[in-house]
């Protein structure tokens, strides 16, 4: 997945509006066979979150312990680097979720 800096720039408003907001885990899985871009991060959990504002979001779960992998766990949207990019590519920042 090649990330375009233009896409990053276009998405900033959406990202900003979500940062810091909280929600609860609806479903979680652990990705063990990742796509190419995420090979160096695997295995990692991905969660579907019901935000306190009502909308549903999907994202990687970070800074977690095993105990956090439960339906209902409270999480917060944080900004992290999406993946490891080549050393000439622009850095893509993206929303991930952290247990509270």
């Amino acid at each position: 997945m090649k990330t375009s800096p233009v896409k990053l720039w276009r998405r900033q408003k959406d990202t900003i509006s979500v940062l810091g907001k909280t929600g609860k885990i609806l479903l979680w899985t652990i990705i063990r066979v990742p796509a190419k871009s995420f090979v160096d991060q695997a295995p990692y959990p991905v969660v579907i979150v019901k935000m306190d504002g009502g909308q549903k979001m999907v994202g990687q779960l970070v800074d977690f312990t095993k105990e956090n992998l439960v339906v209902g766990q409270k999480v917060q949207a944080v900004l992290r680097r999406l993946k490891t990019e080549g050393n000439e590519d622009a850095i893509y920042y993206h929303v991930k979720f952290k247990p509270l």
Partner: protein, 345 residues
Amino acid sequence: MSGIVGYGTYIPKYRLKLSEIAGMWGKDAAEIEGGLRISEKAVAGFDEDAVTMAIEASRKALASSGLRSSALQSIYFGSESHPYAVNPSSTIVGEYLGVGNNYFAADLEFACKAGTAGMQMTVGLLDSKKIEYGLAIGSDTAQGKPHDALEYTAASTAVAYILGNKKSEIIANILEMSSFTSDTPDFWRREGAKFPSHFGRFTGEPAYFTHVLSEGEKLLKQSKLKPKDFAYCVFHMPNGKFPRAAAKKLGFTPEQLAPSLTVDKIGNPYSASSLLGLAAVLDIAKPKQKIFFVSYGSGAGSDGFIFETTLNLPKYQKKTIPVAKQIEDKIYISYQQYLRQGHLL
């Protein structure tokens, strides 16, 4: 007069015990921990960098101070691990904070004092009434080369200070500000090099101590104050030994220094180090107390400040999560995990 209006700190969740590092290289953990007076250090997550941490710290500063991000009129971001060599970290922070487009911004590098240099520049804009609020950040995901001495101390943290010039909002006034600067090649990193280099014991007397003590003495002289006039002192903490020695040399007691010594549990997060120590002091200080502060950046220079807390501080303290508490919110990792998270594999 200008001063601190708000502050926020972000310490990543992961900790690596020094004993893990010592075990990797077959060294005596007790000897190393005793020599450095550090037991564990903060390690950034795989997907964190100086910018993501700075955004967290800045968001906290804004939340605690109650300011709208659009009130910020300058952002100075000091680091020695900016994600880009060319492309400003300060504006990425500005964008994700929602500051808008009307602000001064620049990225700074001056080893471990890049954050305090940013504070000095912000004071200039505030005192000349060009701005009302400015954000100064010190943030680093510091790396030490495996098997090098710095591996035991290099750590990650971000600290953000909002400075302003409205008396009713200032929680700590800046009474004095000066710097002691020279060209001293004690520690450096070339463009493209992954790890910094240093010249061992040369980083001690001629580097850290010359600048910290010279600036410290300058501050005392120009303020006409004595060490006993201060409730607290804060110094840059490359390890647990140096700030203790500097404090003693300048005439401060261990009790005045103790609350600032975040290095013991966090390590040295470079541009954030002295700023974190100051935040730890502000978390517990009472009104009308003076704080003596000297940072250090290799290359070399020391930025000195004398702060005096105000009656606005106690109300602010109720809105923060203390540094001491954040230090305890941790997950221990193994040396292998540390290599992975630091992109060293």
